[in-house]
Amino acid sequence: MKISVSQYAAALFDLVADKSEKEVTAIIKSFVSVLDKNHDFNKTEAIITSFNEIWNKANSEVDATLSSARELSATTRETVTNYLKHKTGAKKIILETEINPKIIGGFVLRYGSKVLDGSLRNSLNSLKNKISN
């Protein structure tokens, strides 16, 4: 019987819900041996991604990435987190920041399958398009 990635991830989620750390380690060990038995090791990456999605949905958490050209202050990160909490109604926001000089200025915020592009690079591109038309 073929087991899909989402089925694996859902099963793993059900197994580790409300378990202590020691129990979780044991569960992961047996989970991996099941994967081995079904020759499904190649699905591991996809299972991890799917598991993240299921976890976030269940615990109302949102993963977000904030790219900026320079280091952002703690207050800025706080504002973004609050904005996301308000927008998505999630209880917890896991905000990752990264520095990307290519965007020149401003920021690019990615969360879920949405993108909020407030970068200077984007503004310059739209200005260029507007003037050249």
Binding site: S6, R110, G112, S113, K114, V115, L116, D117, G118, N122, S123, S126, L127, K130, I131
Partner: protein, 507 residues
Amino acid sequence: MSTTKDFIVAQLKEEISGFKAEVSEKSVGKVLKVSDGIALVSGLAEAMMSEILTFKTEKGEITGVALNLEESQVGVIILGDYTAIKEGDEVVATKRILEVPVGENMIGRVVNPLGEPMDGKGKIETTKFYPVEKIAPGVITRASVKEPVQTGIKAIDAMIPIGRGQRELIIGDRQLGKTAIAIDTIINQKGQNMKCVYVAIGQKESKVANIVTKLTEAGAMDYTTVVLAGASTPASLLYIAPYAGCAMAEYFLDKGEDVLIIYDDLSKHAVSYREISLLLRRPPGREAYPGDVFYLHSRLLERACKLNKEYGGGSITALPIIETQAGDLSAYIPTNVISITDGQIFLEPDLFYKGNRPAVNAGLSVSRVGSSAQIKAMKKVAGKMRLEAAQYRELAAFAQFGSDLDPETKKKLERGQRLYEIFKQDQYQPLPVSKQVVAYYALINGLMDNVPVERVKEFEAGLYKYADLNDAVLKLIEEKKELDEEVETGLKKLIGDYKVTVDYLIK
């Protein structure tokens, strides 16, 4: 000089300072797999059916249309060159359902299914966009078909008349003159208050170039738009071409105008849809066509209609073309489209090679609108013509027994032979309805009975020339559109006078 420079610089500064960068939230996804013009995209949970998606590649932005909405991915057909897209590329949802630019500026141009110009005559300025897919007008908004579309082809206008708002299928094997009928119809719409759209689906670009040249020569490009999806365009563009053409026609329909749209041809359209469906892994049915191939054509052809006065009174007349293989009318796609349209014009190879061109088979061809789409004059002279033509064909087998038949049958044969001679018509020579009425009047009233069969064409051509020189009768027919006493007397006199000038009549 410096004032202009200062002015330009000042304008530029104003433009830049007044520019507000808009930051809006966009839905993005990632390309999982791309092959053969189809891309599978992850993310984009809120993608809509037929939504335009933009692929951000190194070579710029490429558009695609979402066609398969699955649980964890979206199947997208790519409207353009798919080789530039790589796995992992970003895909942005535009929140716009597939739409094409429409407007008056489309007239006289050759465009691709996305509305981009293909004739090298510069950019097309449009303000309006119409959705490519649209639900056809409902029953309440429609009116019955009453006005004629004059094709200018004698055989069709007499026996299989087409009305404004009708769908008439042109069906036959390859190289029998299907496109020729369509082009002659477009050329004859000059001065008939009709806009035309010619959608070329999968045709050779050289053939379409010839067609555009002929149309330009005849002055038809003043009211025609050509939508070109040539043989080498990707299947996705072939698939949307007829719908895009129909959207452009609907712009004029909404303004209360009459439009003629020709789909050349829908067989290639079905093949391109089959290609897309199989690549999207949709299950194949009969002849490997997907299960909804009927819906593919029915939703297209139902958009051709006649609207009632409340909704503008405009109309779209559709002439779809289907190519059959070896005359097989009972194949899958031909039977589908025959059941959708309001009649068909069936072209036969036998008639074609015997010299009867246009090779219209009077028996199998039908127009379900019929004589309500003919002017009264034509109705009077051509009333029983279709039946007579079909009967003649059945009797023609006995023609070899010429002298052994009773006079009644012989008369029918003679009349039928002359009828078929009159039906022969050269390409690019559409005939105005007034001249057709003159010829048919002469025929059915026995005025051509003493013209030898092999000289009927000559007689007819001479008759038209004569009618042009003494054009009072022609003008009368065009004005009154019916055969009252005055017109009939005029016709009798005209034909009588002409016959006097002719020296080859049988005594």
